[in-house]
Symmetry: none
Subunit: 201 residues, 4 copies
DNA sequence: AGGTAACCGAGACGGTACGTCGAGTCTTATT
DNA sequence: AATAAGACTCGACGTACCGTCTCGGTTACCT
């Protein structure tokens, strides 16, 4: 009943782990995900290939962890979604910030790669959504519930669906590049969506 | 400005073209896009590899055309978006149909593969969006404009953005599998979105 | 009992035939036999591939005929082997001329290619020997017989073997490049061989 | 002056090396050199193609080493050229043995292929001559010098040229198949050549 | 003089092998 | 025991030519 030998993580080289993260992100940024290879990551990180295969099941998994790593560090001074009492203003703020993030190359390249892989690999998608996307979405749920409590959103509204009315259109433009992703667009999406959520007089 | 010798398409073998489409769709359906190889398509189609490389620049391009080919044949009896005068009912109808399509494996596998590649390959994305997605989206624009003319949608609303409020959430759930994609969800998205578009009394 | 359709040689395009010869010799000279392709010959000659396949069974056969063609033209003012009565002088003359020929690139390249192919393809070897080499060798037989009649070569000597004592060493150096092929060497071979053929006092 | 990364030969798999030699010789023997492919050798040896490309620059180089390998093993019980004091008899012995070797298929096929390639590839020729042919020729040089010391060959004779009078004719018949290669022919060549080398009374 | 059968240029086709790249596994020596 | 290094088998890549096969277009013979 032996599991096929799992490595002893207490012995793991922290140095190598970080070098692999950096190499993975750098290569994906410079040459794109498809042209990034495990061999290339290992070479750039000054690491043996086996060290990667020992700790990660796939190229996508390496990139996901690398990306989570920087995301966590960036999220230390967590901005969350502000709650000034003005829902529309607060949402426009975060949505504009999201637009900026999606438009910035150092974020765009790995995030795009991970999204694309997730589209096609349900296992990765579960990780990607669970560890990266869902926590973000929950912030919207909280803010919307708070607005609901304050009477700015109709009582019957399901925040989960409301949030997707906001985030879905942004994701759509970002992923498929149908049209440019701008602050103006973010604002309009917020406005159109909120019309439908506001209480009827 | 020398074009690197283009083949003479009048000499092209229709037989091979169709065989390649069928092989590509079959293999993507059976083994997934990543494990589908050009060599495999050629072998299954009973065709030389060069015949694929002569006419398409990449595996994704083959699949796109194969998919467009069946899409066109399927769209002969064009369903379009009905216009019964009841916008909500009409939209729910198409949105439910779209949900069914996205949930049906023979459509899902190649569409997902193309979407994933498009996320990461802007050139393919342009083709994918322009030839497959955008025509679909224009149907929404038309239906929404018609509703606007009938006074069921506020005059100031931009149909392009309105449509993304409908389609974006669906795409989001489909692509990233955040939550199940159901008829109920389609209905709710339509309802939430239309609240915001309806004229204020 | 129909032979699988042989082409009608009276209809053959002389223009194409000559262009193919020239292209074949030029390409073999410029890029070597191995890198010369039938497609390349056809392209250079401004000829369809089929025109080559119609008239020749192989690349080697094309080159052989091309080479024979120039060899015939060159041999119009046939030098043969002179017969001044001084066998040694006469042989040195031809042997030196042969050395010069073998050392001249325009002759060397195609001749080498044909020899190499012949080593490995008995059918081609038969053609090569019968149409090109053997006629040359017969000249030696005649000259040696004449010398025998004049009493300059022992009566018991078989001219066929004697000739190979002269030509063999030259061929050996040429084909395998063991040592440089010079006039001095030609002279020495003639001298050493003739010692053995001369009548014993 | 960067060498394009050379592999570490201390890590080399002996098992693969021997399997490649055997496969190469077997395939050349069975199907001929031209129809022997690197892919075929790799498959037959149960080896990755890359393992061949890592250690050899060409198909011919593989075959050369394979052939040298068996030649070395065969030459353990070195026969050399005997020195009984009777030069003619000794030479006839080796020349007949050489004829037998050249007429035996397992030797003929690879040797012929290597010779043919050498005719056309000077680099290979250098290897072929230096490592295989020249050591054989030196045996003749030694034997002839010994005969010279014993007064059975004229003092002025250059053994190098004398040897080519013996070996050249044999090679000529073997390579171009002008006439059959027999013991009788070997004897005659020896006799004719020795006439010219013997001291004049 | 018109019809027609061949050769001709061109090049698409189904194939085979090329030489390269990278995947994932395994081995060796080092820390 | 984990590591850096890298050789190994394997499979696919995209390319180059093979030899076969249409496809018009031009000759050149033959009614």
């Amino acid at each position: 009943m032996a599991e096929s030998k799992k490595p002893d993580s207490s012995r793991r080289s922290e140095r190598s782990r970080r070098a692999i993260y950096e190499a993975a992100l750098a290569l994906v940024g410079e040459t794109g995900y498809a042209r990034t290879t495990i061999e290339g990551i290992a070479a750039r990180a000054g690491v043996g290939k086996q060290t990667i295969y020992r700790w990660w099941p796939s190229k996508a998994a390496v990139l996901l962890e690398a990306f989570l790593d920087v995301a966590e560090q960036a999220a230390q001074g967590e901005p969350l979604i502000p709650d000034t009492g003005d829902l529309e203003a607060d949402l426009k703020l975060v949505m504009r910030a999201t637009v900026d993030e999606l438009n910035s190359p150092p974020y765009d390249a790995p995030a795009r790669a991970l999204a694309a892989e997730s589209v096609v690999d349900p296992g990765l998608a579960a990780e990607f959504v669970g560890r990266l996307l869902e926590p973000q979405l929950q912030l919207y749920v909280h803010r919307l519930r708070s607005a609901q409590d304050a009477g700015h959103v109709r009582a019957g509204v399901d925040p989960r669906i409301a949030l997707e009315l906001l985030v879905g259109p942004l994701a759509h433009r970002w992923l498929l590049r149908t049209l440019p992703l701008t602050h103006a667009y973010a604002d309009e999406v917020v406005e159109y969506a909120l019309y439908g959520l506001a209480p009827r007089p």
